[in-house]
């Protein structure tokens, strides 16, 4: 790349200096590894290693080391599966919706969101395999005739899951990768050695011609439309894992939209937290501004209200109908042994966001980030309530039971939270987390 000519003569020193500053800010984190990064990577890596040990322990000693017992056969693993698939809606849905609606403020936000999607999906998709116990038999789900010439049962919601997640993961990866190509070409011109070769290979020979730019912009608009349809379907399919069973409180027609709303809700929360971390640790204060947090805060508030509406609709219908098998679960959740979880969920998902985000004066970067944390916690509890409280109260009272997670499940759960931090740390050192080519300066002109 020609970096020798002096552009200041025509562009003016101010504009060139601003561009140089943007390059330094957005590409700078890729060039060095600080002590804080090493510390964060070591701590999160240690948690991931511990989780790997816990999983190895389970593989060695069998699924019995987990806390799942009759009648609660779905515990932390399935809670985490639903939770992480929900988080994965951060990127694709938010990025795609904002891209299609032409929201220009999305530009510093989208890549961070798209990366969350890919990482959260990778983690979420792992949980059904962990839950299998005999994880090495996962390949039985792959459609080829095995030794007994039996094909997988494509009418099973579990096969629906496999297909939906495969499609969503592939599409999300490509949705992250395509707009990364111009930045990879830029990086290839600025780096040396192995990195240069890696970036050149990944940039597919991108030259920056008007034909390439036109094709990329067109492809991204189309991809946004397609991926929206996929994202909605994926969490609907996850909800159907529950709704297709004739189990009290699960066999509900609103589970699809209820889960999708919850997924977008938790996805925005995750995005807010990642943005706050990028601001704090990568020094992106000039890029991730109050306006971004303010807009995402409003979206978070909107989704909080939508989630509350669905929750009320779900609970009110059960309360009014008073079918014994369903009503007993509602009572357990609202007044019984699961009441602390239920009221914590209501506080974290509705009351706190409503107070902190509803009042304009209180909608600061700090309060929006705090709401991100409360919503993530609240949504995890919501998944826990849906899975565990229902299974612990089957139709026959003689079969009622309880569930408490073992150290293996807790370790693996903690490891996945550390895992997404670690994946993000590595990503932030390999690729710019804000799209350099998409970023526009304050005057609205391209870089």
């Amino acid at each position: 790349m020609d970096r020798t000519a002096d552009p200041t003569s025509v562009l003016g020193p101010e504009r060139v200096a601003r561009r140089e500053q943007i390059f330094a800010d957005l590409l700078g984190p890729l060039e060095s590894v600080g002590r804080r990064w090493v510390l964060a990577a070591t701590v999160s890596g240690a948690f991931v290693a511990w989780a790997a040990f816990a999983w190895a322990w389970q593989l060695l000693h069998g699924i019995g080391v987990a806390g799942i017992r009759r009648p609660v056969f779905w515990g932390f693993y399935i809670v985490n599966f639903v939770f992480w698939i929900g988080i994965s809606h951060a990127g694709t849905l938010i990025s795609a919706i904002l891209r299609l609606t032409g929201a220009t403020w999305r530009k510093p936000v989208t890549r961070a969101a798209e990366a969350i999607t890919v990482f959260a999906l990778m983690i979420g998709a792992m949980f059904p395999i962990v839950h299998l116990g005999q994880a090495w038999k996962f390949y039985w789900l792959i459609p080829y005739p095995n030794q007994r010439l039996i094909w997988p049962n494509f009418r099973s919601p579990l096969l629906w899951d496999v297909t939906a997640i495969f499609t969503y993961l592939s599409a999300s990866f490509l949705y992250l990768y395509l707009p990364l190509i111009p930045d990879l070409a830029l990086l290839a011109g600025r780096s040396r050695g192995l990195r240069r070769r890696l970036y050149r290979l990944l940039s597919l020979g991108w030259q920056g011609s008007s034909r390439e730019w036109h094709a990329l912009e067109h492809a991204m608009k189309l991809m946004a439309a397609v991926i929206l349809a996929i994202a909605v379907s994926v969490h609907t399919v996850v909800s159907w894992d529950f709704a297709m069973a004739i189990t009290p409180t699960w066999h509900s027609t609103i589970f699809g939209p209820y889960f999708v709303a919850g997924a977008i809700f938790s996805g925005i929360a995750a995005l807010v937290i990642v943005m706050a971390a990028l601001r704090r640790f990568l020094g992106f204060q000039s890029y991730l501004l109050q306006v971004h947090f303010d807009n995402l805060g409003k979206l978070l508030l909107l989704m909080s209200l939508v989630w509350t509406y669905f929750t009320v609709a779900e609970y009110l219908t059960i309360w009014y109908g008073k079918q014994p098998a369903e009503y007993v679960i509602l009572q357990e959740r609202v007044y019984g042994s699961y009441a602390p979880y239920f009221w914590a969920m209501v506080t974290l998902n509705f009351l706190l966001p409503f107070l902190l985000l509803g009042v304009r004066r209180w909608r600061t970067i700090g309060s929006v980030t705090l709401c991100g944390f409360t919503v993530l916690a609240g949504m995890w509890i919501e998944r826990y309530l849906i899975v565990v409280s229902t299974l612990s109260r089957p139709r026959l009272a003689s079969a009622w039971g309880s569930y408490s997670p073992s150290w293996v499940e807790i370790s693996i759960t903690a490891g996945t939270f550390a895992g997404i931090v670690l994946l993000y740390l590595v990503f932030s050192k390999l690729f710019p987390v804000i799209a350099v080519w998409e970023y526009e300066d304050v005057s609205g002109r391209p870089l």
């Binding site: 790349m1 020609d2 970096r3 000519a5 552009p7 003569s9 025509v10 562009l11 060139v16 561009r19 390059f23 459609p143 005739p145 010439l149 039996i150 094909w151 997988p152 049962n153 494509f154 009418r155 919601p157 096969l159 629906w160 297909t163 939906a164 495969f166 499609t167 592939s170 599409a171 395509l178 111009p182 070409a185 830029l186 011109g189 597919l204 991108w206 030259q207 920056g208 011609s209 008007s210 034909r211 390439e212 730019w213 036109h214 094709a215 990329l216 067109h218 492809a219 189309l222 991809m223 397609v226 991926i227 349809a229 996929i230 379907s233 399919v237 159907w240 080519w437 391209p446 870089l447």
Partner: protein, 167 residues
């Protein structure tokens, strides 16, 4: 031959393109290289994209193949589950949908790679635009080279150089 005209101010590129069009150069002879999208006049818009068509075709083919495969496997080894019919559009519809969308995504990416030219062999060498400049590449006859160079300089190009043809 190809000429590479370097513009330090991207605002000059679109008027330069228009001026070249008015001077009789076809739009296909003009190409702009930059590290960020540069808005060009409407007359430079490529022909209507085939990406949607490719995506729809790939979606239909993949969805169709997926459905045929599921129906074949259920005939090959009929498993009765939950009293459902062996070949059920309802129960296989989800997988049909997902794989239809997977086909659309694959079609879109292939369409992008083809239309952007990333999959194709390039005729002319590409100039490196640099971090602050925009390069306008112009195809012209060798006899016109000198005159076109002067014209490009008049249009605001800081530097004009001939480019080699690609191998």
């Amino acid at each position: 031959m190809y000429l590479a005209a370097r513009f330090d101010d991207e605002d000059l590129v679109a008027p330069a393109c228009l001026a070249l069009l008015e001077a009789g150069f076809p739009a296909r002879a003009i190409e702009v290289f930059s590290q960020r999208p540069v808005r060009l006049p409407q007359s430079f818009a490529p022909r209507p994209s085939r990406m949607p068509l490719i995506a729809v075709l790939a979606a239909v083919v993949n969805g169709g193949l997926a459905t045929a495969f599921m129906f074949y496997t259920q005939r090959d080894y009929p498993i009765v589950t939950g009293g459902m019919p062996l070949r059920s559009w309802w129960a296989t519809g989800v997988i049909t949908y997902e794989l239809t969308m997977a086909g659309a995504v694959a079609g879109l990416v292939l369409g992008f790679l083809w239309e952007s030219g990333l999959l194709r062999r390039r005729r002319a060498a590409a100039p490196a635009p640099g971090e602050h400049a925009v390069i306008l590449r112009l195809e012209c006859s060798p006899e016109d080279g000198a005159a076109v160079t002067v014209r490009l300089r008049q249009l605001g190009a800081r530097d004009v150089r001939p480019l080699e043809e690609a191998e």
